[in-house]
């Protein structure tokens, strides 16, 4: 589809207005909003994720692409009638208590939204209680914990333990510069991702969604 390709190109170039125009044009052509989101916005964001993971593009290029994606979503989302796109799942995410780093966590938020998930971002310095409340309150299927300091990795362990009673409902994924797969296994997390694009892959695996 020509128009879908145009949307993808515009999104990857971070051109917010062209993405909006493209979305409207695709609607005029009779495409379903869910298809435009899936084949246009989400597909393009996933390319961005891979390019970033491979160091082919820089962080600001991801940010501007995510902004363009949101511009497209703003046009299309109100037209959705609770179909496939919104059913991918809900993620609660935050940087653990005592840690104020948010760049990596924000990239994961963008990638997850770009992959069609609903994301509840609790921000930084998030207490274990807040994580537990949000997981139960939003009926999340996935919770993401970020830590950028060795001192706050210990906090991660406590949060994973506190989530124990809800592990039937929610999968736990962890990440952040000092976090390793080994550490993730040790504290009993379900998954570990070394970067934002991999986080999306890991979540999809854990939830068994495409």
């Amino acid at each position: 589809m020509q128009i879908i390709e145009e949307i993808k190109t515009a999104l990857m170039a971070g051109n917010m207005n062209k993405v909006k125009e493209g979305a409207n044009k695709a609607l005029e052509e009779g495409l379903a909003p869910a298809d435009i989101i899936n084949d246009g916005l989400i597909a393009a964001m996933s390319v961005i994720g891979v390019q970033f993971k491979n160091n082919e593009i820089y962080m600001p290029e991801v940010l501007v692409a995510a902004r363009a994606m949101h511009a497209g979503m703003d046009v299309l989302k109100p037209l959705l009638a609770g179909d496939a796109v919104q059913d991918r799942g809900t993620m609660v995410i935050g940087t653990v208590k005592g840690d104020l780093h948010d760049i990596g966590k924000n990239l994961v938020v963008m990638m997850m939204e770009g992959a069609g998930f609903k994301v509840v971002d609790l921000g930084v310095d998030v207490t274990t209680e807040k994580f537990v409340q949000a997981v139960t309150g939003h009926k999340a299927q996935i919770v993401g914990l970020s830590a950028l300091l060795t001192s706050t990795m210990a906090q991660m362990k406590g949060t994973v333990q506190a989530l124990e009673p809800y592990r039937g409902q929610v999968k736990v994924i962890v990440g952040g510069a000092p976090v390793t797969r080994k550490f993730a296994d040790e504290i009993g997390a379900d998954g570990y991702a070394p970067d934002a694009a991999s986080a999306v892959d890991r979540v999809r695996e854990l939830l068994g969604v495409a």
């Binding site: 820089y58 962080m59 104020l100 310095d125 210990a154």
Partner: protein, 266 residues
């Protein structure tokens, strides 16, 4: 003259974490000497990735580095117990990195500064998190500077850190950092202003280029201390040149001496 804190002995760098773990004295001492030779006035020591044993390692690291160079160290940890472990071993006047206006950190770090007569990097933040504006930073400085001086620390021993955020995350972070520098300098003519140079360039290509440009812009607006990589010769050359251009190098003698020592690089 600009105060240069050499940043390279930091265990968030893999080679350093490995060297500290292996107690590789020779490697760490060589790196300390190279930074000193390149013009560092203070050597930062950080061993934060070894959380459980950080205090013990800090005491060891201070000894190792001060055996190699006759310079004060910048003892770098958010944990007051680790700071104290380093301070007990340190010879001369240490620079503590860091205190903030956060309640607990303030309460536990302040007595160390007074007890060991150390100077301090004071982060413009409190328990509310990172500053989001120039006004936030001024508000934090209004707690920090009077608080520290009231406790007996001279203004000359205070290094305010406005906390630099990456330009790649938000284009406003550059002007925010620079305007904060200008505003803090205007308000506190006698305190030092310090920043870690490399934060500004995170996520962008050719980071050293941005670091160098930012150093000059910050210096012009009143930044007078940097935590940086002193082995970056173009950066050090530019700062030496800037110092002369700002009229802080009488008859350009430092600049000429740097040239004689083969340190200036065009």
């Amino acid at each position: 003259m600009v105060l240069i804190v050499g940043e390279l002995i930091n265990s968030s760098r893999k080679t350093i974490a490995t060297a500290i773990e292996a107690k590789d004295k020779a490697y760490l001492q060589d790196l300390a000497r190279r930074q000193a030779d390149a013009g560092a006035n203070v050597i930062d020591v950080n061993c934060g990735t070894s959380f459980a044993t950080e205090a013990v390692l800090m005491a060891w690291l201070v000894d190792v580095v001060q055996d190699a160079v006759d310079l004060p160290l910048c003892i770098d940890s958010p944990n007051p117990r680790v700071l104290e472990a380093g301070l007990t071993r340190h010879r001369g006047k240490a620079l503590v990195n860091s205190i903030s206006a956060g309640k607990e950190r303030w309460k536990e770090t302040l007595p160390l500064l007074i007890g060991y007569k150390a100077s301090v990097v004071a982060l413009c933040m409190d328990d509310g998190g990172m500053p989001r504006s120039v006004a936030d930073r001024l508000r934090m400085a209004e707690k920090l500077v009077p608080g520290l001086t009231a406790a007996g620390l001279p203004e000359e021993d205070i290094y305010l850190d406005p906390l630099i955020k990456p330009l790649g995350v938000d284009g406003s972070h550059g002007p925010e950092a620079l305007e904060s520098t200008r505003a803090l300098r205007e308000k506190y003519p006698r305190v030092h202003l310090i920043s870690g140079l490399s934060n500004i360039s995170y996520g962008l290509p050719r980071r050293r280029l941005l670091n160098r440009a930012f150093a000059l812009m910050g210096y012009t607006l009143g930044m007078d201390a940097f935590i940086l990589d002193p082995l970056d010769r173009p950066l050090m050359s530019l700062l030496t040149a800037a110092n002369a251009l700002a009229g802080r190098d009488e008859f350009c003698l430092d600049y000429i001496a740097a040239e004689r020592a083969g340190k200036l690089l065009e």
